[in-house]
Amino acid sequence: MKSKNKIEQIFSNGANKRAFLIKSPAFITYLTGVSFPYPYQSPFLIALVGNGSDGQSTLIIPVEWDGIVNEWNGKVLTYSVNDGGPGGAYLKKVIETLESCSDFKQSLSLDYESWTVREIKALQQKYPKLKITNCSDEINLARMIKNEKEIENLRQAAIIADRGLIGAFNHVEGTVTTVCYTLSEFLERVRVHAIEFGANWVGDLNLSQGKDGSAWYTPITDFSVVEEGNMIRINYSLSVNGYWCVSNRTVFAGNPGKEDLAAYQANQKLVKYAESLLKADVKISTFCSKVQQQAEKEEIQLLADFGMGHGVGTSEYEMPFLTIDNSETLKEGMVISMGLKTLGKMNEIIISSDIYLIKSDGYEKLSDFVNWDDIYLINGVRFTH
């Protein structure tokens, strides 16, 4: 019922009741509470079609996904690749569903950014007088402020993200002086432990070691192993009930030298400063520029051009974006991932990002399973492990 309320809040509002057609999986999960298997990486498309006047809506999914919608009161229709390939069959079903939508005359509210040229052409060909209004901003604005249930999902995702990492570290600890863990298997351990602690699915997976970490994404294409004396950065994402955590942590294999310790401490010193600025009504551009100024003052090599964070919710990266050109203000109830990218002694990117719930007087850290103020050491030697 709750998810239906979200639909009503946006599309059944006063005199502005309208027919709607939504394609973005993140929007659909937000509106319906239904999550889908890797929708952005799938060749198959989904849609939510509905009436503003009565809040009734229909989910359109590929027939391969039949059975995934369990706790939603709306109607579910499937399409088969046999009806025109994934794209053609999808559009046919969308148009067929629009035809049965009582609010749909010649105007339609849709998330314009999600639609391709070919899809818009097909809609316009079918309805030459079609008047399209873009509802993306309305949905994005609503999505930015999280309710209690959403916050709980995000908290759980954040805790699982750290537990997944710690679980994997625990396997590697004791093996750093022997050739035991390939980077690939190490990263797989992260996925395995996130799943074991309750992640519904894992998204991005990246690990960089030592100087390779000067690049943000470092695909692993060999059997390289964990090597003592290196910073290791892991970036990954996971979802719980359709809500995401993006996790970025930097740890050290073996015993760090003074320079490594200093680089990590500098990063965390800047993070503490940034945290002191986090609260509702702070302008995002001001926040970013103050952090940048502090980095200059402290002579910390901050990669300010790489951004400082973003919202998390039914997508991994969503509004608000913590960028210096963002004139929006932080608001109570926003949940953001904030992390600062600074450089280590080999120019490797150091980051440890956390998930913050913005409050009127500050923030609450949702990712509070482990304290990352000091660099985490993957260490220890054992003959067998």
Partner: protein
């Protein structure tokens, strides 16, 4: 690092085709194809927009500063135009691209775009900022280009298929009749074994499934847990559906096998499995250059009826594979694509096992040869249904 890229293929297309003077690429799959770097997160990351432009002489890639080193490491030797993280990355990236095009392509030139994947909002901005240029849809032509695999692509697809099939075989070696095993454990075992063989680790859809009983009645059981497996133990004597999508150098595998969790196979299971194996053998005789995808579909459907198989016709019987685990052409009722030499497709035969309508499947990667097709990556003879060891 991934040093390959396909842009020579795109450039040679541009030299041969005078209808367009340049091509804009904006979607993650075509970007993976063109740059050699398959960044799956681009599909779902609103804060990063990557665009590429090719003409016969010039190329450029627009990306956020945070990705520059990644693309350079991947062998991108041409111009990289980088923008700082910002509140409107798509709009910013298009502005950078437009400036490059204005400086490198004369007015009134024709620019190819992939309308099938190009966001309308990007097209609107391009049309507004480049009124002197003509945009032409090249979706079909570029998709065709992607469908015919180069030697390098074929090698990657062969390794991906081989490691995955070998990995599945390695994982099921750990299944025994008298030893308990959960879905979650076997799912993990498959992923780990595929990686051990040499597949490259990847997130998102690079996952496995191992399901039986009621969970096997749908393709994605346990929602909202997707392909991570649950704690349920496999029952002795049951058929188990195994699946894995893996990646190698940015190219995918998409494999499915089945096994019986017993050292003995029942008569019903044997009849079902051997019918599916027979259907695969028969289907392979039809898959060759010159045959339309929908003809193959109809042929398989008819042969399946003869074998009394309850085929999952609604899924189609296969698809192309490359920088996406599922891509065109589709072996389905509506696809009239004529198969050509050097296409790589996945033959996907799935049917419902009679007693409980569990979906069991066989997925084989095929390279279309001059005269027929070649099965890639078979680790063992899957015509015989795999039965578990009694114990270990």
């Amino acid at each position: 690092m991934w040093n390959q890229n396909n842009y020579s293929k795109i450039k040679s297309y541009l030299k041969k085709n005078s209808e367009v003077d340049g091509i804009i690429i904006a979607d993650p799959a075509f970007l993976a194809y063109a740059t050699g770097l398959n960044l799956q997160s681009l599909s779902s990351n609103q804060s990063q927009c990557v665009l590429a432009f090719f003409s016969a002489l010039e190329s450029c890639l627009v990306c956020p500063k945070s990705l520059v080193s990644t693309y350079v490491n991947a062998g991108w030797g041409d111009s990289v135009l980088a923008y700082s993280d910002c509140v409107a990355p798509q709009e910013t990236a298009v502005n950078y691209l437009v400036n490059f095009i204005k400086n490198h392509l004369k007015k009134n030139s024709a620019i190819g775009v992939i309308e099938e994947a190009l966001p309308q909002v990007v097209a609107d901005q391009l049309n507004r900022l480049l009124p002197e240029y003509q945009m032409i849809d090249v979706s079909e032509k570029l998709m065709k280009l992607r469908q015919i695999k180069s030697t390098f692509e074929k090698e990657n697809l062969i390794w991906a298929a081989m490691y995955t099939d070998h990995g599945i075989a390695g994982a099921i070696h750990h299944v025994a009749r008298s030893v308990g095993k959960t879905e979650k454990f076997l799912t993990e075992d498959i992923r780990v074994h595929v990686l051990e063989r040499g597949a490259h680790i990847s997130g998102y859809r690079a996952v496995a499934q191992a399901v039986s009983g009621d969970n096997a009645r749908v393709m994605w059981p346990n929602a909202p847990f997707f392909a991570v497996g649950r704690e349920s133990n496999f029952q002795e004597g049951k058929l188990i559906r195994l699946e894995m999508c893996g990646m190698y150098n940015g190219y995918w595998s998409n494999d499915s096998r089945m096994l019986v969790k017993s050292n003995v196979i029942s008569d019903d299971q044997e009849a079902f499995a051997s019918s599916l194996a027979k259907l695969r053998t028969t289907a392979l005789t039809k898959i060759k250059p010159g045959v339309r995808a929908n003809e193959i579909f109809e042929f398989i459907r008819a042969e399946g009826l003869k074998l009394n198989l309850n085929l999952c016709v609604e899924f189609g019987f296969g698809h192309g594979i490359g920088v996406e685990p599922v891509e065109a052409p589709f072996i389905c009722a509506s696809d009239e694509t004529v198969l050509e030499e050097n296409m790589v497709i996945v033959l996907w035969l799935s049917a419902r096992y009679p007693s409980n309508e569990e979906i069991m499947a066989s997925k084989d990667t095929l390279l279309i040869t001059e005269t027929g097709s070649r099965v890639l990556g078979w680790y063992e003879n899957w015509d015989h249904t795999y039965t578990a060891a009694f114990t270990f």
